[in-house]
Subunit: 134 residues, 4 copies
């Protein structure tokens, strides 16, 4: 299993008139989580795109358990539990400063060739790195 | 079953550097879909909130099938297949102008009292309206 | 002078915890306004980009006069008062349903070559169209 | 003069199909800058709102000088050059990692009473703090 924690602070723009973080902003937080997990393994997603590899999201799910508020410092815990194959399955848990869980989620990402925009096999460099963890 | 179709045009701000609509923007489109479905039944979500009723999202899932692009005119089809009880279960299908499906999704919303921020029963007025459809 | 009016409805995601449209969302509305003004003249901004022309914003200013609220139907009035040269100067006025002015703004856009990412002269086709109005 | 620097990393969601940070996202970055400047002086904007004080933006201007890109680490330099009175005038400079200026901007904020939504005098506590700097 690979796991990584990132912190971020809720911006005013991310709240809605309910006073909560808008439900549609969490996928953005999840993206921050997985980019930082990848970086912790030595992969820059920016660099992957520069090499012609794109990783679009194929599936997303979120279970909202508790609201988050303006200026909250949230912890995004991102996990990969299974060895990635043609897809990477990310799991998420977001916690507030009291350690309460805000929501949990999952996202499945594939690999596509930026030029042809068709599915491709994951780069060997990435798979070799993951093999060290599974 | 209740069903409603809304159209919207993809804004530049909603695209990302892949050239696609950012995956995290679809929950916003889904929200537009359900607000317009509710309006078609005679309910303004704004008015509900003014009456002290909030409907936060409890669960969300999206299955991304095909990208959407800048300036695309998308059709958001929103459906309620089961008589709502303490929750409303919305289903979504987004289509592009060629009639191809872009993604499908689901969102479950509950009812909470805006003052106490605790779960409440759905307003009778809403339930009576739904009864006409199921 | 060229002038065009577009309507849009405020989305929940565009509000903030003050209950107003977040101040940083108006540039997005302005963009919708200028894209629709261009479309009314026969130019699709999407098509311009496909031809290798990009129009980045060089200057923006907004004067906020009155808040807008969730579900408000806003009118975006977009104007070009002077014959464009190497830049196009757009002026904006946003009105609510009561006809009250919400804010006014300006944006100056240049033309750049998408490949070289360097300034370019505006396409003759566009200039010829503008000449009919000034 | 009061000055404060905050860093943030550009998110994928903040880019657009040009591959740049969308021009309308900078006001959000400016907001992060001024909130952190206020925090550095001992004021939490969240706390101000809890006390019934809101600070809506009255004027905004941005001069875009150079694009910023996905994953860039940007420095938001926020400055107050004049002793605030009924308004606070914030100035901004955003720099990329090479120290190049990305854009400059200004925002003027007023004070309003959250309950009456009418202009109010700035809290004495804030003015006393500012007096130490001017």
């Amino acid at each position: 299993m690979v796991s990584y924690e990132t912190k971020l602070r809720v911006r005013y723009s991310e709240t809605d008139k309910m006073g909560y973080v808008y439900y549609g902003n969490y996928p953005q937080y999840y993206e921050v989580g997985r980019v930082e997990l990848m970086r912790s393994l030595g992969f820059s997603y920016r660099h992957l795109e520069d090499m012609g590899i794109m990783m679009p999201v194929q599936n997303l799910s979120v279970r909202y358990l508790r609201p988050a508020y303006y200026d909250d410092e949230l912890t995004i815990k991102t996990m990969i539990r299974e060895m990635p194959a043609s897809r990477i399955h990310f799991e998420y848990e977001i916690y507030n400063i009291e350690g309460q869980i805000v929501n949990t989620g999952e996202a499945v990402l594939g690999f596509i060739n930026a030029e042809t925009r068709r599915p491709m096999r994951p780069p060997k460099e990435i798979m070799d790195t993951f093999k060290q963890y599974f």
